[in-house]
């Protein structure tokens, strides 16, 4: 073989290997279809989407189907939507949810909305640091969905529809793709058209009672400055109404237990004593529909919740000083901790909380069960 021939062959081999590498690299890449028609309210602030999971239309279609598919559980009877029902702002109305095992869970189902903002820690005790990580945990939990992930991948591969959807969204069916798709569908669950949002955009005015409630919600009481307050804003941010996104600032001990009964909560995750009894501050959006309340579902009504903050606080070593100190009557507190709001003020705050109900969110067809619409079309 002449020198020039040798060089030609080498060059060809080189070109083939480059092309092969490029093919292997792009083979599993999702198509670059970025979501164009998603509107995000600027008052919610900054958010981050993982660089390895762009918010594509294909991933959302897949995620929505997985979210509503009972085949994600070991019994093929429990889907994510079993406990996260759209008409209840993705809660289930139960004190303790029940999954495949039939044993009631320790915790109350959290509402799913505006998940791109607020605390970067998921579950009541913050044990998961991303939506992708969170998504796989209920699937595997022995009491919730009890599913083996490898087996789930096998089942999905046998299906007629999933291989195509996965191919379009992530190139192939695997465990990370399941997590990513579920996370992306949940990112689209944005609630931003409640009466409060319409008020913030200047489209409507709140009635007198709601406006009094809004003012009380937004104020920490200060008797010295003659300011009455419901103290909600100390934990629930003004627009999102969720906990704060920085560090563990979105976790609080809101006086549900005394020292003898203080649950570990965030302590389970950080191992720090000061985090004992601190749970994630949930969003209050659609709160009128997400009863029962608190991490253990102990309160059935918003009236009971207000009564808790207005006289039912239990003292413990990690109780927020902002709760301990908040009082609408100067120096009234000795051993009894209370906001000392009057009945009308309690009612006003509840009236304001009802302005956080977003009918569009509760009935948005984009968030609904895709299997049902398939049946209708057939």
């Amino acid at each position: 073989m002449s020198l020039s021939k040798k060089i030609q062959v080498t060059a060809m081999l080189f070109a083939v290997s480059v092309l092969a590498t490029l093919y292997l690299y792009f083979k599993d890449k999702p198509p670059p279809t970025h979501l164009a028609d998603l509107t995000l309210p600027f008052i919610f602030g900054r958010f981050q989407i993982p660089v390895d999971n762009p918010l594509t239309a294909e991933s959302i279609i897949l995620g929505r189907r997985l979210f509503y598919d009972p085949r994600l559980s070991s019994t093929n009877k429990v889907s994510c939507a079993t406990c996260h029902k759209q008409h209840l702002a993705f809660t289930d109305g139960l004190k303790h949810s029940v999954g495949v095992s039939g044993r009631p869970l320790k915790f109350n189902t959290m509402s799913l909305s505006n998940l791109m903002w607020g605390p970067r820690h998921f579950f009541w005790n913050g044990r998961s640091a991303s939506l992708e990580n969170q998504a796989l945990q209920p699937i595997q939990h022995i009491d919730e969905m009890g599913q083996n992930l490898d087996q789930l991948v096998d089942e999905l591969r046998q299906d007629n529809t999933y291989p195509i959807l996965f191919k379009q969204a992530y190139g192939r069916i695997n465990i990370p793709a399941i997590a990513k798709a579920l996370a992306n569908f949940q990112r689209t669950l944005i609630s931003s058209n409640s009466r409060y949002d319409q008020y913030l955009r200047g489209e409507i005015t709140l009635n007198t009672n709601e406006e009094l409630g809004r003012k009380l919600f937004m104020a920490h009481p200060d008797t010295k400055a003659s300011l009455r307050g419901g103290n909600c804003i100390d934990c629930h941010s003004q627009f999102l109404t969720s906990g704060f996104s920085t560090f563990f600032d979105g976790f609080s001990n809101n006086g549900l237990s005394n020292d003898d009964n203080l649950p570990p909560a965030l302590f389970e995750v950080t191992g720090k004593e000061q985090h004992r009894g601190l749970f994630k501050t949930p969003t209050l959006r659609n709160i009128a529909l997400t009863a029962p309340y608190m991490h253990d579902g102990r309160f059935e009504t918003l009236q009971q919740v207000l009564k808790h903050y207005n006289g039912g606080i239990k003292r413990s070593k990690t109780l927020s000083p902002l709760i301990l100190e908040a009082d609408n009557i100067s120096k009234a507190q000795k051993d009894h901790i209370s906001l000392n709001l009057d009945d009308d003020e309690e009612k006003a705050i509840i009236a304001f909380l009802h302005t956080l109900t977003d009918e569009d969110f509760l009935s948005n067809p984009m968030f609904s069960d895709p299997f049902k619409s398939e049946q209708v079309n057939e």
Binding site: L3, I7, G45, G118, M218, A225, Q238, P321, L322, E325
Partner: protein
């Protein structure tokens, strides 16, 4: 044929050389010269340890603990003979609950020798304080936001005063435009030889009038009372010093 190959090989070699030298030049120019501002918190001469350490009530009986200390440093400006430079979106929420127990601000692409003074504000300037702009660490949904018509807490100090088994919550949420305080420090004295690090000390006893100390029992919470806010905020002038 052979000639063609030689030419293409030569072209490839030349292109590679150009790319390599470009890469090396870029590496050189992007080598960052930076200025680091490091803040450490103390209570008098003792380091601030959140939650677990107690300190004497500055002007009275009992001891106090701190659960959180956060404050805004904003609009950092370097002044020099060649000109001044202002950091963009310059809003930093200084906090001490990280593993290092100090807080750092890194200003990239700064040649320290070019500047004589550094200027910074404690709090949020009135323009940003009156809006819901999202810039730097300013976040209208953050812990430091009161509500959009009231503005930001400039400084948050929370804890407890323990006196004869009695526990009194301490809540200092200090805001208002009148509290915004600008401080200037000389750079030359601040930089230890051959470093690009300035160490600042944040002594929170300055918030309680170090020369005529306040009894925390008398002023255990400060939020919206203008006089009380002014009493605490006057300490901003001396809160931060060069180490």
């Amino acid at each position: 044929m052979n000639k063609k190959i030689t030419i293409s090989l030569l072209a490839t070699a030349i292109t590679s050389l150009i790319l390599l030298s470009l890469y090396l030049v870029l590496m050189q120019t992007t080598q960052p010269s930076q200025l680091i501002l490091r803040f450490k918190a103390t209570v008098g001469n003792q380091p601030l340890v959140l939650h677990h350490k107690s300190y004497a009530n500055p002007g009275g009986d009992g001891v106090f603990t701190v659960r959180d200390l956060q404050f805004f440093i904003s609009n950092i400006k370097l002044l020099g003979q060649v000109g001044n430079v202002s950091e963009t979106e310059s809003y930093h929420l200084v906090r001490f609950d990280n593993d290092d127990s100090f807080y750092e601000i890194v200003l990239p692409n700064i040649n320290v020798q070019d500047y004589q003074q550094i200027e910074l504000g404690i709090g949020v300037d009135p323009k940003a304080n009156g809006t819901i702009t999202i810039a730097g660490d300013l976040d209208p949904n953050g812990r430091m936001a009161w509500s959009w018509d009231v503005g930001y807490k400039f400084l948050l100090l929370e804890g407890a005063l323990i006196n004869q088994e009695q526990q009194v919550p301490l809540v200092y949420h200090i805001g208002f435009n009148s509290s915004y305080t600008r401080l200037t420090f000389p750079i030359k004295e601040a930089i230890k030889s051959n470093t690009t690090l300035i160490n600042f000390n944040v002594d929170l006893l300055h918030l309680f009038n170090k020369s005529n100390p306040i009894d925390l029992t008398n002023i255990s919470t400060v939020k919206f009372d203008k006089n009380d806010v002014a009493v605490i905020a006057q300490g901003f002038e001396s809160l931060i010093t060069l180490e």
